[in-house]
């Protein structure tokens, strides 16, 4: 007998409790993750935590049984929090630079907020039309998205699958604790330990359950990434060193030669070529996927029209909403560029100053908007294929572009860097959440609307926290190596290592050290690779050159293990055992790392 209307309770999805609880989590996570990132040097994703807290609050405490509602809660929370990683990598660099350069002090807040919110909005509206392409046609893996979906679905999975998930998480907890305690090194360099190979020919494994889990989930599809790393480090690096392309300075002691060569090969050669390949691969990917993307856009329009005619709710946000939001984002970016102009900043906005600032502001808007779009696609593809985001490299390109367009205006360059970093983080996060949504059967429109409505909040909080932390009563720096706490090695020291890296890059830019040769030659290789009939191969190879080899190799081990298991035990085993196990590895490490960092921050250790 079916349920009578009186028995039927709602099955909530885009609900007020989900939005409120997601917002609350997002706000708390953003503020705390900005602080943690300034202290420890890396950000954290919020999806896993939000999904688990959603279970506790929505399902446990409030008795709301809805997997799709928890998906909205997790989408909102991670959508807000994703701004923290975008802001913390870029903005603090401006403050650090201002210590030595007084002209950079007191950056204008309004243009900064405009730029950050424009990036957040643009990231979302840009990536939504590509959902069909990336999630449905290309079927990118998005390992963290799969892990969160596995978590959300856990109430319906059998006990054995639940146990497998818990077993994976337990192993990850153990491994993360062991690594954090220093019992096992984070990078195990077998070549160095055994003396079999020099540092420029590394045989090193990154000890991370999540990285290995992502490799397991990607399986055969991730193999080009691992092979790219092998070619880069076991072929190209030895070629460069043995051909004498990297001369060793006389001052470098013999014992340090290997490390010096490895550093030069990676930092001056492989990494910039990798960035170039990512750019070229993504550009070519956009061109070659154009028929599918335009087909997807047409089907979006047709579906929206059909839904209107039938009085039903459309499955995706309408192209009109997306278009209007994109225009709004570009207007904000333009406004930011105008108000960041040094003459307008000092003398105020009048007709003559506006006209004078117009060409550069337009160039910033057009080039910045285009780069933002391309960088978003690169990050979404890289995250989709490997769970790893080349955020810092793309931010560097953004800063470089703006640096040249604005004639060396560091403030404007960093502001656009903020926009690009937030946009790319949004792209990856939105697509990851949409992948989760696909697997649990959520309505894409509800997820998209939830993230779009709150896209302004994360940048606001993250920027606010940075400004608050920078202020001190005596006007000295609030964070960074020159802050009072760090100079005196006090527990409250926030060394801001990520921003320090960008600061170094900007200083290199100011001394004309931009690797244009590597970016351009790499981009052409990336474009050529895209002719090969394996989707995304250029992005995977580029990412492999961009990252340290230990990460790539450990990830590749995961790929090979998954392939062997599938060949021996079949696809059903993969779906029912390996996926929950790998999800457990990712979830376990994410949660352990979060609690570890919170404890470490609370105890004041650096």
């Amino acid at each position: 007998m079916s349920a009578s209307p009186a028995d039927v309770r709602p099955w909530p999805e885009l609900s007020i409790p989900a939005m409120l609880f997601g917002t609350l989590q997002g706000v708390v996570m953003t503020a705390s993750f900005v602080y943690i990132a300034l202290k420890l040097g890396f950000g954290l994703g919020g999806s896993t935590v939000a999904a688990i807290l959603g279970f506790v609050a929505l399902r446990g405490v409030m008795g709301r049984k809805s997997i799709v509602e928890n998906n909205i809660n997790q989408t909102v929370a991670s959508g807000i929090n994703t701004a923290s990683s975008g802001v913390v990598f870029t903005l603090p660099a401006l403050f650090l630079l201002s210590v030595a350069d007084p002209t950079l002090r007191d950056p204008p807040v309004v243009p900064l907020l405009l730029s950050a919110i424009a990036g957040s909005l643009m990231g979302i509206v840009l990536i939504i039309p590509l959902r069909k392409q990336m999630v449905e046609f290309e079927r990118l893996k998005f390992p963290s998205g799969v892990a969160v979906a596995t978590l959300l679905k856990s109430p319906g999975e059998g006990l054995s699958q639940g146990l497998v998930l818990v077993a994976g998480a337990a192993i990850a907890v153990l491994l993360t604790v062991v690594v954090n305690l220093g019992v096992v090194a984070e990078d195990v360099d077998i070549g160095k330990i055994t003396g079999l190979a020099p540092e420029w020919l590394p045989i090193a494994l990154y000890v991370s359950a999540a990285n290995f889990g992502a490799g397991l989930l990607s399986g055969k599809g991730g193999l080009p990434f691992a092979l790219g790393g092998v070619l880069a480090w076991w072929v190209i690096s030895p070629v460069a060193v043995t051909s004498g392309w990297v001369p060793v300075p006389d001052a470098v002691p013999a014992a340090e030669t290997g490390g010096y060569l490895a550093g030069e090969v990676y930092g001056q050669m492989l990494r910039p070529v990798g960035i170039g390949m990512l750019i070229g691969g993504a550009l070519a990917g956009v061109v070659s996927a154009f028929p599918a993307v335009s087909g997807a856009l047409r089907s979006l329009q047709a579906a929206a029209k059909l839904a209107r005619e039938q009085g039903a709710s459309p499955e995706e946000l309408s192209p009109t909403v997306l278009g209007a939001s994109a225009v709004g984002a570009l207007v904000m970016l333009f406004g930011s560029a105008i108000f960041t102009n040094p003459d307008i900043r000092v003398g105020g906005l009048d007709g003559a100053a506006f006209v004078a600032a117009l060409p550069v502001a337009l160039a910033v808007t057009v080039v910045g908007g285009l780069w933002l779009a391309l960088a978003g696609i690169i990050v979404a593809q890289a995250t989709g294929a490997t769970d790893i985001s080349p955020l810092s490299g793309l931010a560097l390109i953004a800063v470089t572009l703006m640096f040249f367009i604005t004639g060396g205006d560091v403030t404007a360059a960093v502001f656009l860097g903020v926009a690009v970093c937030i946009a790319t983080s949004q792209c990856a996060d939105m697509m990851q959440d949409l992948k989760t949504g696909h697997l649990v059967g959520s309505r894409p429109r509800d997820q998209q609307l939830a993230q779009l409505l709150l896209c302004w909040l994360g940048p606001l909080i993250a920027i606010g926290v940075i400004y608050l932390l920078w202020q001190t009563p005596d006007g000295s720096p609030g964070f960074g190596p020159d802050s009072y706490a760090c100079m005196n090695k006090e527990p409250g020291c926030l060394s801001a290592p990520q921003a320090g890296a960008l600061q170094g890059m900007i200083e290199a830019l100011r001394s004309s050290d931009a690797a244009v040769d590597k970016y351009l030659s790499g981009a052409v290789i990336g474009g050529a690779l895209s002719i090969f009939p394996i989707g995304g191969i250029a992005v995977l190879f580029g990412l492999a050159m961009y990252l340290p080899f230990s990460i790539t190799l450990a990830y590749g081990v995961g790929n090979v293990v998954a392939m062997v298991l599938e060949a021996r035990l079949g696809r059903v085993f993969i779906g029912r055992k390996l996926v929950p196990f790998a999800a457990g590895l990712i979830v376990g490490e994410a949660l352990t790392q979060l609690f570890w960092n919170l404890a470490k921050t609370a105890m004041g250790a650096s």
Partner: protein
């Protein structure tokens, strides 16, 4: 055979082109060496490095590009030729495989047959949940949905390359988007059943079945057009 040669050429091309792309021009090499000297003798102080830069003169971007091309340009171009040649061979092989109907690892993908089989299994689920009360046990229908995903949907998704080769990206996109919507609504049915919400499950399943019918019609339309 062509595919393997293509892959070998690709690998060789990447190594050659990326190696030469990674080379530094003469002045840049001298600059890096000098910076290395300073960093190792007096610590990596920025001021020292800047002093070195002032002495050596780091080339501006356009000159840096020219100097790199002088030492690495030829090898880089050679590598590119290998990549393009390898890609062309691999594409030829792919076209031949599809023209000859070679099955490949995923097996010959039978889109209409698979959709028909999916519909039959989903009809079973429809019957099982037709009278299901809220919060009633739904283990069996969820097991069937799990089996449909593992046995029918995932192999079809894995073999989608054959469909792209057969109909082109644009043709493939016409029906595969609808197929994906059908698949997503099937998962939605599973989620609703897990949450004990039989009404939402029935709605989702009905939507899924309509979408599977629609994607089959779209596939046949694309197939007819060739």
């Amino acid at each position: 055979m062509k595919g393997n040669i293509g892959l070998a050429l690709l690998a060789l091309g990447i190594v050659v082109s990326a190696s030469f792309a990674a080379r530094n021009g003469a002045r840049h090499t001298a600059y890096r060496t000098a910076v290395g000297e300073v960093a190792h003798t007096e610590g990596a102080a920025k001021a020292e490095a800047q002093a070195v830069q002032a002495d050596i003169g780091l080339p501006p971007p356009s000159q840096r590009l020219q100097e790199w091309f002088a030492v690495g340009g030829l090898g880089w171009l050679g590598g590119l030729v290998l990549i393009v040649g390898g890609a062309a061979l691999a594409r030829m092989q792919q076209a031949e495989d599809n023209a000859g109907g070679e099955e490949g690892a995923a097996g010959r993908v039978d889109f209409p047959g698979t959709i028909t089989a999916v519909r039959e299994r989903l009809a079973e689920v429809t019957t099982l949940i037709a009278d299901l009360k809220m919060d009633a046990d739904s283990t069996r229908p969820r097991e069937i949905l799990d089996d449909v995903r593992a046995d029918l949907i995932e192999p079809l998704v894995d073999g989608r390359g054959q469909l792209i080769a057969r109909h082109g990206l644009a043709g493939f996109a016409e029906y595969f988007g609808t197929f994906s919507a059908a698949e997503r609504n099937m998962y939605r049915c599973w989620s609703a059943l897990t949450d004990g919400h039989s009404v939402a499950a029935r709605e989702a399943l009905a939507t899924s079945l309509v979408a599977f019918d629609a994607c089959l019609a779209q596939y046949q339309d694309v197939d007819r057009r060739g």
